[in-house]
């Protein structure tokens, strides 16, 4: 238990760094995901192709490689940015396509009959979107977005392997310093992650039940 008292500040610092990275990435990746989703459902084929290409490329690339590109390869090409910032860029690039897919599947889950019904009673495109499609789409989009956020939380740990100090990196530091308390360190660090992921998961479940459109 000694380590908990002595290294409380390291833990807290790591936890806050993880939270900060999570928040910043979320704020960057969600808008990018929305843009990608809009491109993918737009009537313009070229926009669809660009967004599809980007999505497929990033979704099939391991996150480790995205980090590797930004942290080790880019600096050699003359793009020198702070590690913290590269980590957020890497996570954003990797996460945005997943947000986009979550949003797209939500919009696509609205039956086409809903739009047809709206149009047949004379609603304009704007009215159809605002009163009929979006209220239904948003409901089915929020739970998957939360699920992607949970995955993002866990993915922030990869930054710890690329010279960024956060929870995972702090666990490595503590495990070196207190070699005989590794089990305790493991459980404490895992609980820090669970403190973020489990409430988010519960929220997703609750929202899914509460706002689901029954069909």
């Amino acid at each position: 238990m000694q380590f908990l008292i002595e290294s409380g500040d390291v833990l807290l610092e790591g936890f806050l760094a993880t939270l900060r990275m999570l928040a910043l990435t979320f704020l960057l990746a969600l808008p990018l995901g929305v843009v990608l989703a809009v491109m993918r459902i737009s009537p313009v084929p070229s926009l669809r192709w660009v967004a599809t290409g980007f999505t497929e490329l990033l979704r099939n690339t391991p996150l480790t490689l995205v980090f590797f590109l930004l942290v080790f390869v880019m600096p050699r090409l003359g793009v020198i940015i702070d590690f913290q910032f590269s980590a957020i860029v890497a996570l954003t690039l990797y996460t945005a396509p997943f947000f986009s897919e979550a949003i797209r599947s939500g919009v696509n889950s609205v039956p086409v009959g809903q739009a047809e019904a709206a149009r047949s009673i004379g609603l304009t495109f704007g009215q159809t979107a605002r009163h009929v499609i979006l209220p239904q789409a948003v409901r089915s989009v929020i739970p998957p977005i939360l699920n992607v956020t949970i995955a993002l939380t866990k993915n922030t740990s990869v930054a710890g392997g690329f010279l960024v100090f956060e929870l995972f990196a702090s666990s490595r530091r503590l495990a070196n310093a207190y070699a005989n308390e590794t089990i305790l360190i493991f459980v404490v660090i895992a609980l820090c992650y669970l403190a973020i992921t489990i409430p988010l998961g519960r929220l997703a479940d609750a929202l899914e039940k509460k706002v689901a459109v029954l069909r």
Partner: protein, 307 residues
């Protein structure tokens, strides 16, 4: 292509869309040209950046590392599927003494990063990096697959189980002989999609020091000179991952289109996995597409008969 959001485009919209297409095309070509020129300016397409790949030894070193990556993924997949099946059955047990601990263990494994698990398996059990990665991936994905299978079982019609019980099967037998095979079958696409994620995650071995593809390419690049070959090795590695993963995603998609299963099962699976599984959206989208095609043809048929 129609969507929920807009009608079949008319001549005006088609013209606007064509203009937008040309604009995007030009923009994209511009960006690509800029990137290529910049990279070329850095001399990345020069012969001396790539001459190393004439050496078959380089290829065999990379191939060996790709083999490690694939091997890790295959062994971890087997562990994950077996564990997942066990987890699913235990988590649905009637006995609280079995169910509650399983649930806690599953939540624990699912909620933390795989990387953390790998790292602590490495130092707690003093295993090799290889087994730390295999076991970490196996446990983590086992928990996720277990959850998917469980929701598959829950989503089955109640009558399946009742029929088994009526025949005199014990509850466990009904679960194993009737419910589990059906759930497994309807969840196959989800499981395969999760295995693609597992394969991608095997590259986390890089961070815990396993000599897999990402680490090997770095070692090689540093051996031959990172400033000269770093980029070339990165491109080759990325290509290898893309080829393997796109193939697997394609297989997952094919499986999804062949697998029967109701909307309820898919919904359940989607929320159960909730991860970044590559094809989780595919079944849902496919259902949407199917209904779209149907409505579309109904609609044209209808309007034709009116005229």
């Amino acid at each position: 292509m129609t969507s929920v959001l807009y009608d079949v485009p008319g001549p005006k919209a088609r013209r606007r869309s064509l203009i937008a297409s040309i604009a995007t095309g030009l923009l994209l070509a511009g960006v690509l040209a800029w990137v290529l020129l910049t990279l070329g300016g850095e001399g990345l397409f020069d012969y001396e950046r790539w001459d190393i790949f004439q050496d078959p030894l380089v290829w065999s070193a990379l191939g060996g590392a790709l083999l490690v990556t694939l091997q890790v993924a295959v062994i971890a997949s087997v562990i994950a599927v077996v564990l997942g099946s066990v987890f699913a059955v235990l988590r649905l047990s009637k006995v609280a003494l079995v169910r509650v601990p399983t649930t806690i263990v599953l939540e624990f494994f699912r909620g933390m990063p795989v990387l953390l698990m790998m790292f602590f398996i490495l130092i707690l059990f003093a295993t090799s990096q290889y087994w730390a990665v295999v076991l970490g991936l196996g446990l983590y994905n086992g928990a996720i697959i277990g959850e998917a299978l469980r929701s598959g079982i829950v989503a089955l019609p109640k009558g399946q189980r009742e029929a088994g019980l009526a025949l005199g099967l014990t509850p466990l037998k009904a679960r194993l002989l009737i419910e589990f095979p059906q759930a497994f079958r309807s969840m196959t696409p989800i499981i395969v999609a999760q295995l693609v994620v597992l394969l991608k995650d095997s590259s986390l071995g890089y961070i815990v020091g396993l000599e897999e593809l990402v680490r090997r390419q770095r070692t090689l690049a540093e051996f031959y000179g990172f400033s000269q070959y770093g980029f070339s090795f990165f491109v080759i590695t990325l290509g290898a991952f893309l080829i393997v993963n796109l193939t697997l995603s394609y297989i997952a998609r094919r499986l999804a289109s062949r697998t029967p299963g109701g909307r309820a099962t898919r919904r359940a699976a989607r929320s159960a996995i909730g991860e970044m599984a590559d094809t989780t959206v595919v079944p849902v989208q496919r259902a949407a597409e199917r209904s779209r095609h149907r409505t579309e043809s109904d609609y044209t048929g209808g309007s034709g008969s009116i005229q």
